[in-house]
């Protein structure tokens, strides 16, 4: 038992070091934004896919925003992908398509497999361009965002691009404020540090882009994955394509405003991520492919982030069990030492990361909320552990692929 605990603490220490390394890199290291200066170019043709399943509350905003972007209009095709919506999404999309003929082309999907990846896969029949951008329907892109996301594709090594997600409905309640901090840490520090260190920035599947030839080479969208973005990240990596992160390509999104929606969202992410871990971890680390060693290590750690929640819970349980066993005083004290060391230093690493993000964003007041993030942390650790357990026992319970759509809270216009 004690050795199992040692192993858990060792793994947690690795993640702790990783958090600190990323944060210190972001604060003091060389910052890479290699494509952000491309403001003049012979811009390529682009297709923007907007995934929409029952999005009548939000779809108007993104289509309005996309119709106003400063990209050469003759080189931009916007394709709202209406995925089996049963609300007014279809009517809104059709109205926009008729108001912007040639620029907005509606794609209506009435049947088939559920999930975003399946919808995007079907919509590919309309895509003729080499550069594809993807947005979820609750996002609101700024005027210059399309050019910023297209710019990295001038690099022939780039297969995928990811921009920064910024919550719009921050002030609604405690949850939205906590999610705002989490997003800041995740993008401003985590993703940018990976970009700086030439590791594996994660494709987020929205505010994102993919090269069509790269997508074709890796077999297209994987509609059996719950997180097609994570899946895409690893398949691109294995095929020698880079995913790059553009921290200055920011886009507003709507974050969940109630805990039950948040829990469902993070459970889906955890399941999808774990699914990718099982599929790619071994191949990534030991396989013969084009990823270099640092990408293999970082990619492996990234695959394991959601598995760390149940591992941490298990560590706490084991630490207490070892302590109360009282077989060996040294073992018990060591277990408590491990636990307290992790609690004092390990847990703090993520908070340090978020605090650094707030500093980089020049938001010194909102960082006061940081201690309350413990609440979000506890909810997440339980939800993610539940997701992992349900996956573990899925063969016994007979659970099948199920896509949970994230509920929207915006008042429709």
């Amino acid at each position: 038992m004690i050795y199992c605990l040692f192993l858990i603490v060792a793994v947690i220490c690795i993640y702790t070091v990783r958090h600190y390394f990323f944060t210190l890199n972001r604060l003091f290291g060389f910052q890479r934004h290699p494509y952000v200066d491309i403001d003049t170019a012979d811009w390529p043709n682009v297709t923007v896919l907007v995934a929409a399943h029952n999005e009548e509350k939000v779809i108007t905003h993104i289509l309005t925003a996309l119709a106003e972007v400063n990209y050469p209009p003759e080189r931009l095709l916007i394709v709202p992908v209406n995925d089996r919506s049963t609300d007014g999404t279809k009517q809104i999309i059709d109205r926009f398509a008729s108001e912007h003929p040639g620029r907005i082309h509606a794609f209506h999907r009435t049947g088939g497999k559920g999930g975003k990846a399946a919808a995007l896969r079907d919509a590919m029949e309309l895509v003729r361009t080499e550069v594809i951008l993807i947005f979820d329907a609750d996002y609101i892109p700024g005027a210059g965002l399309i050019k910023q996301l297209v710019a990295p594709f001038f690099d022939p090594e780039v297969g995928g691009v990811m921009g920064r997600v910024v919550p719009l409905n921050v002030g609604r309640n405690l949850l939205t404020r906590l999610l705002d901090l989490e997003r800041a840490g995740g993008y401003q520090v985590d993703q940018q540090a990976r970009m700086n260190l030439r590791l594996v920035p994660q494709h987020g599947g929205t505010v994102a882009g993919v090269r069509r030839s790269a997508l074709h080479e890796i077999g297209g969208w994987n509609d059996s994955s719950l997180t097609e973005d994570t899946d895409l990240t690893y398949r691109l990596l294995l095929a020698g394509w880079k995913t790059v992160y553009q921290n200055r390509s920011e886009c507003y999104e709507e974050v969940p405003e109630i805990w039950s929606v948040r829990i469902r969202q993070i459970m889906r992410w955890a399941k999808g991520h774990n699914q990718a871990m099982v599929t790619y971890a071994r191949r990534l680390f030991f396989g013969r492919h084009r990823a270099v060693w640092r990408e293999r290590v970082d990619g492996l750690l990234l695959l394991g982030v959601y598995a760390m929640a149940p591992v941490t819970l298990l560590g706490w349980v084991l630490a207490l069990a070892v302590f109360y066993q009282r077989q060996n005083l040294f073992d018990g004290l060591l277990a408590i030492l491990c636990l307290t060391t992790y609690s004092a230093v390990g847990n703090f690493a993520a908070f340090f990361e978020i605090a650094a993000a707030a500093r980089l964003d020049a938001t010194p007041i909102r960082i006061r909320i940081l201690p309350l993030l413990v609440l979000g942390f506890l909810v997440s650790i339980v939800a993610v552990s539940r997701a992992a357990m349900s996956q573990l026992f899925a063969p016994l319970t007979g659970a099948k692929f199920h896509w949970d759509k994230t509920e929207r809270f915006r008042v429709s216009s």
Binding site: P34, A151, D155, E157, G240, R248
Partner: protein
Amino acid sequence: MKPSAATALLVLSESVLLALPLLPAIDELLRKRDAKPLEVIQKHAGDITYFARGFRSYLGPLLERLRQCEVTRSNGRGRLKNNEEYLLLGDDRESFVRAASLHGPLCELLIAAGINATLPNGLNFVKEVYAAKSLLSGERNSFRALLCDEDVRLRQGSETMRWAHAVGRFRADAGCNLYGRVSSDREILLSHGCTFQRLHAPRIALGYVPGDRATSSGAVAQATRPLSRRLIDGDFEIRPGEVIPENLVARGTLRIGAGARMLGGVKGNRSVILEEKVVVSGSLISSGEMHIGHACRIGGPLLAEHRIEISSGAVCGTPDAPTTVSSPIVNATEGSLFHGTLWARETGQVIARR
């Protein structure tokens, strides 16, 4: 003290100790002083003429009076609503020093000139300068910001501190320092010894560039359909005169021999070295340093994460398809030509031709 009271006191004091670190959080949660979305959507940050356009609208109330000064060949003074003092120049007979009542090198007036303006040497303009006609600076002039509706010529050793925009041609003599943004709707000409950061114009010529024969877009025409990608682990060298009909990525240093022709984009994850007369139709990207040889032509964006050295005769972009050249450090030799944006994040320098 009774045991129950002691227990209650202990619990209370512990609760207070526990709650103390949370007080700022709860205070912020209730008062919502910083509960707005981050202001991060930069609609205009990439537009090089953003400040120039802003200044033009700021000048709006003065323009009619400036025209009157021009017609009556008189100068005028006044203050804007924010109490900023301005000088309107419409009299080309009076010297600038006298019109501005200067007693030293410092000019603290906002200047709007309706005449062809010629400035004396050694002046430091701490407010913006607007010229409705052409502007010829003195030597060693320093401008905070400059907007000109015709041609601008900065004489030797002058500098712009924040931005400058010319509707006509923008020319800087030897040794000028152009900090911030400089743009022209027509052409930017820089002499040797000039330093720069961000330049944008349909044509940016460093030193003397003979004619435009080298800039025909046909020479660097890009493929009309996506090209396949060739990925090479380690260093790679392309033989002189070779034609590569695909995108090329080298994980190490990439050297392209003289006269080679690359029909797609090219990337080297370390240094990229182009010998003379190489043609790259697509983009040219280096994760390290880049050396562009004599008379090379690059069609697409040109990026180097550390430094670019550009030899004379090199041409980047075309009049029909302008592009971006960007690196923290750009050293470009006289005789090189750019169409679009030339951006040195830290320092750009025009090197004298040997």
